[in-house]
Amino acid sequence: MIYAGILAGGVGSRMGMTGMPKQFLSVGGKPIIIHTIEKFLMCGRIDHIYVAVVKDYVSHMTDILRKEIGDSDRVTVIEGGADRNGSIVNVISAIRKNDSSPDSILITHDAVRPFVSARIIEENIDAAIEYGATDTVIPATDTIIRSADGKQLDEIPVRDELYNGQTPQTFRISMFEEDYFALSDEQKKILTDACKIFILAGRTVRMVKGDSYNMKITTPFDLRLAEAIVAEELSHD
């Protein structure tokens, strides 16, 4: 079975000015998270979608889901965890109530990346089935600077070897269970990225080509940019 986990555990502290977590803000007349869920709903290979949201917004999420999409038996809202992996653990717990297959796949995605494409989703699924784990990336365009103290430049890594990580991140659920639950509590606090856990466990993580439109809406600037991008008509005469 193939599952999607839409991760919306954050409360949007980086947006700062609005009371509503950023994933519930509107783009093109509809909450960002609804656009994201709809994109995964259109992928017929995904059997079920779990939406992990911060506890106080579970009922709000359920409301807007019913209002915007209607009653769908392919979407379930659950409570997110303390961090990204905590939310993934909660999604997996929900999946494991009905599915114990070692081959089942989970495609995880940031709720605030509504511009994800069908290609990116499908290539994630294909690569996860073949290789076990995937991360969606785009080549870095800016020069990356490394500095330990934030004052002094320590290193300029070779840009050709650098990529910006996006989502989805997709993996065999049994693989995540094996590697994540082997970590100590201290390690779990530090290792918040699923793919980083796989790499430290010595596994191969396949890269899937993302694209620059698959942006993460985290700042007011991003929000304005997203609004501008979708403010186009479908057809014309």
């Binding site: 656009h35 709903l41 259109m42 017929g44 069908a118 080509k209 186009e232 057809s235 014309h236």
Partner: protein, 339 residues
Amino acid sequence: MINRVYRLVAPKQIQVNFCNIDLNTSDVIVRPRFLSICAADQRYFQGLRPPEALKKKLPMALIHECAGVVVHDASGVYKPGQKVLMVPNQPFAPPGIIRDNYASTSKFRASGYDGFMQEYVSIVHDCVVPYDNIDDSIASICELISVATHAVTTFMQTAHSIRNDVAVFGDGNLGYITALLIKTMMPETKLHVMGIVDEKLSLFSFADEIHHSDRLPAGLRVDHAFECVGGQVSGTIINSIIDIINPQGTVMLMGVSEQPVPINTRMVLERGLTLIGRSRSTTKDFEDTRDLLESHPDMQSRLRRIIRDTVPVRTIEDMNNAFNTDFSNPYKTVMHWMI
């Protein structure tokens, strides 16, 4: 849902646009899977249309030949996963005396409004035709086949019943498909195919007679003819037909010409000929085409010969490559749409 639409904004320049699709629509949401490039698309892409036409029509998503898979249908008529042929002609007025494929109120995709180069397409129920037993790449050229079906069906309904000898002028894709349909739908008729290129003519192994259109045998006469050439030589070809057609024959005009063409009307009048134009099909023609292909697997084998390239498309660069590949390909190029 935010949908990606790939529009031609200027010759050889495709750009992605993002448009909202309402999933609570009464439309069917279809994921395009196989898109076939038509000469009309190529004329836009290469900038071969008149500048005023490009200015009026662009930006616009190209492609009107497409097969896809249903991903969402709120009405429940189609289940997700159902393969469908997609009809580019959408009527916007109730049925009347004028068929909707020729009604001025109808809209045709990739000719005035967005074609099928989209991540998902929101399309009315009347413009999808389900299929199960057609090869997907052949399904993608069903629009072109349906135009030929429409023309042959019209011919069978209107032409007089002496149909001993029928000619198809044109050795390209449309000529091949039309000839194949005539042979399938009227097996008793002696089929003549007229063309220029030996290699292309060799594909017409099912035809009864093959002729070079610039040196037709003296005394050759046919009862009716289909013109499938178009372009600058349209006039020459139509007049060649008029020269060899028997009185009261029907000439089906199917080739598109950018320029007006001179026609020997004296002989049209003298022989009492009927000239009928057919270029656009409707949903009924798609259904007839589907039924014909599903009941004649041998037709599918023959049609596979004119699909020369199937190009995987994941990026805009892949789209450009597909159009450039097609430009030097006399047959059909199909984009396997994975965008």
